[in-house]
């Protein structure tokens, strides 16, 4: 059955799984990948590792494809008079929360909305309310809320995916569920293509809090090369092409010390052979992605970063262009199918022509 990308993105997006609480998305991926990989493992932090064995002789080389599965979120910090105050787990933008809908994952899941003092009674109507001034209202009496909600309960965006013009969707957690959709597309395509290397598909835990899952997963599986998949800033109102990348303009390929230059070059060649749109994202240091962790795993892993541009990052209405997701899936499958048993020699540091002459 051909994969319905829009449905896949919707299913992945609407699941609630903030950092450290990735269970629901891990189980969804276990189902989605059940027929696409040969074996599952998990690391100590809960990253899901799907192994699709290659056709080469053992011991086979391994490529790690890593997309984080956690989302930004909040936890309950206080329950007072039936209202709920939160602190963020990481990366939540409280300026965009007034009047936003959330789910409070208490003894049962409650539908809430962020409220604050009306503008004429607020500390300032020229400032966005702070986390301390925003209260979740679940519309229930105080005693009922006290029974149902405890400090530490998770709070996530209550946001369904909507279709915009063109191939664009809006919804929550596109950072980074759209990359998991792309990774799934890649595995789907590899069902019909031969590949020599083992493919290690990783849905990593706890990226938003410091790329922890990628570190532990890489340690466990010891890849020969790795490609991290993430999202990057799309151009939008207030974000020009000096800071962002066009939606629909293709994924970005990271360039900088986090990435292996020869691997980068090989990727560019595959992309141009596919006549695929790509953008270059220059990252002079920490890429802020799983690639930063993976690169220094064990004795070092040649790494790459492919990012899908999204708008309104870390809000409940992130926007993506489906074509960019498809491109990442296609690219990865082609790249993997093209990996020869001695590919590592092709990108080895000591194969510079001027040295070997």
């Amino acid at each position: 059955m051909p994969l319905d990308l829009k449905t896949l993105v919707k299913n992945l997006s609407e699941i609630a799984a903030p950092s450290g609480h990735e269970g629901p998305v891990r189980e969804l991926l276990r189902q989605e990948w059940a027929t696409l990989v040969d074996e599952f493992q998990t690391d100590g932090l809960g990253s899901l590792i799907g192994i699709k064995r290659g056709m080469g002789e053992e011991p086979r080389r391994r490529i790690m494809l890593c997309a984080h599965m956690d989302e930004i979120g909040m936890v309950v910090a206080e329950v007072r008079e039936g209202f709920i105050r939160t602190v963020d787990i990481y990366g939540t933008d409280y300026r965009a929360l007034l009047s936003e809908r959330v789910l409070v994952h208490g003894r049962r899941t409650l539908q809430g909305v962020f409220g604050a003092a009306p503008p004429h009674m607020a500390r300032s109507r020229k400032k966005y309310p702070t986390a301390e001034e925003l209260w979740i209202d679940v519309g229930l009496p105080a005693d009922e809320v006290a029974d149902l909600v405890r400090i530490g309960d998770l709070v996530t965006f209550d946001s369904t995916v909507i279709q915009l013009k063109g191939e664009k969707l809006a919804g929550k957690s596109f950072d980074n569920r759209v990359s998991l959709a792309a990774l799934t597309l890649c595995l789907e395509e590899l069902k019909h293509r031969e590949h020599v290397w083992d493919v290690i598909a990783v849905a990593s835990a706890q990226e938003e809090v410091g790329a922890h899952g990628a570190l532990t997963a890489a340690y466990l599986i010891q890849p020969d090369i790795a490609i991290a998949l993430d999202t990057t800033f799309g151009t939008q109102t207030g974000v020009g092409d000096d800071e962002g990348f066009a939606l629909g303009g293709g994924p970005t390929l990271g360039l900088g010390p986090n990435f292996h230059p020869r691997l980068y070059k090989a990727a560019r060649e595959i992309a141009s052979s596919l006549e695929m749109k790509f953008q270059t994202e220059v990252l002079p240091g920490d890429s802020g992605t799983d690639a930063w962790s993976i690169q220094v795993s064990r004795d070092g892993v040649p790494s790459l970063l492919l990012s899908i541009p999204i708008r309104n990052m870390h809000t409940p209405v992130e926007i993506v262009d489906l074509r960019d997701i498809t491109r990442v899936g296609r690219f990865l499958a082609a790249f993997i199918a093209g990996l020869s048993p001695d590919f590592l020699a092709e990108i080895a540091w000591n194969t510079r022509k001027d040295n070997s002459a």
Binding site: M121, A122, R125, D137, I162, K165, F233, M313, V317
Partner: protein
């Protein structure tokens, strides 16, 4: 009544473009109200005939319009410029979902990621844009026209003792008024007005009152409710109304002073109610009606509603149901002697 409220809440009618709401209301009142007239402003006027026992011209008004936004232009990248229609707290806009124009084209208010801008200064509405996914000005103009209204994209949900949704201000008042005209006849002829353009300056009500020439008027409204935990540095610690305290009777707001005889009458009928804290904020159709013609004694009965003028207001079901019960009880007991000085 909740089904009626749901239907009215989900209809879209930003000020000056109330067609959808008007049609819905007409379908609910046509079997109960006579002399239905849609005036040049778009108000729906009519009379619910009474038993004739009491000789008073009584007007009851609820407004059909809701706050929202309006398309004011298009940028070359396909985004839409907009302004507010009615009083709207611009701080709710970042990341908001909206529906643009008659086709209800989905869009979102763009918000620069926190990684790139951390300022907590509220962004002026003129600098925000709506993204419908169009990638050029032409493509955006195919989907929307200048002047198109933009509504909050919301859903109506029941949360146990409360309901959540958009435009309870004032579809809750409309629902109560519909329920009142559908019930037992009153001792007097009740002149009903479902008004337009309340949110942009009580425009419809003024014209409605001039036509209906009432002796007294009742305005069915919603009002702000601020019963959240308060921080010590918030300047105003007033609780405007309390949710669950019953419908709120306005003694005074920015637009009018309620007639004290009518306030007294409302309180005496024995249905749970509360007073809205008197303050120079907020205004209702009563502001226009009470100063129409030779002056009309008026009173406002309003449902407390948290997060008014936003996409997800919360209102108590019991407050809402008491609104029509309070008015029914008050009207059944209404005689000209209430107005004796």
């Amino acid at each position: 009544m909740i089904a009626l409220l749901r239907e009215l809440s989900q209809a879209i009618g930003v000020s000056g473009d109330e067609d959808e709401v008007r049609d819905l209301i007409l379908s609910h009142i046509q079997d109960y109200v006579e002399d239905i007239h849609i005036d040049p402003m778009g108000n729906v006027l009519g009379v619910r005939r009474g038993t004739g026992a009491v000789d008073l011209r009584v007007m009851a008004a609820a407004h059909m319009d809701e706050v929202g936004l309006m398309v004011t232009g298009f940028d070359s990248d396909g985004t839409i410029r907009f302004k507010a229609v009615g009083g709207l707290d611009a701080r709710i806009l970042p990341g908001m979902r909206v529906l643009v124009g008659r086709d209800k084209t989905p869009g979102v208010v763009s918000w620069v990621p926190i990684h790139l801008n951390r300022s907590d200064d509220a962004v002026d509405i003129d600098r925000l844009r709506i993204d419908i996914g169009a990638s050029s000005r032409d493509s955006a103009q195919n989907a929307a026209d200048l002047g198109d209204r933009i509504a909050f994209d919301s859903s109506f949900v029941e949360l146990g003792p409360t309901v959540r949704g958009k435009a309870f201000d004032d579809r809750a008042g409309c629902a109560s008024l519909i329920a009142l005209v559908q019930g037992e006849r009153f001792p007097f002829d009740l002149y009903v007005a479902f008004t337009v353009q309340e949110e942009v300056g009580l425009r419809g009500a003024q014209v409605a009152a001039q036509r209906l020439q009432p002796d007294i008027a009742f305005v069915l409204e919603t009002t702000a409710c601020h019963d959240l935990p308060q921080n010590p540095d918030e300047p105003d610690q007033t609780t405007i109304t309390r949710m669950g305290g019953g419908p709120a009777i306005t003694v005074m707001d920015r637009s009018m002073i309620s007639d004290p005889r009518l306030v007294r009458h409302m309180v005496q009928v024995g249905i749970p109610c509360q007073f809205r804290s008197p303050q120079h904020a907020g205004g209702t159709d009563a502001g226009a009606i009470h100063r129409s013609n030779a002056g009309v004694p008026s009173v406002v009965v309003a449902n407390p509603c948290r997060y008014l003028h936003g996409p997800h207001s919360i209102m108590s079901i019991s407050d809402f149901e008491y609104q029509s019960q309070l008015l029914r009880a008050a009207w059944m007991a209404l005689t000209p002697s209430v107005l004796e000085r």
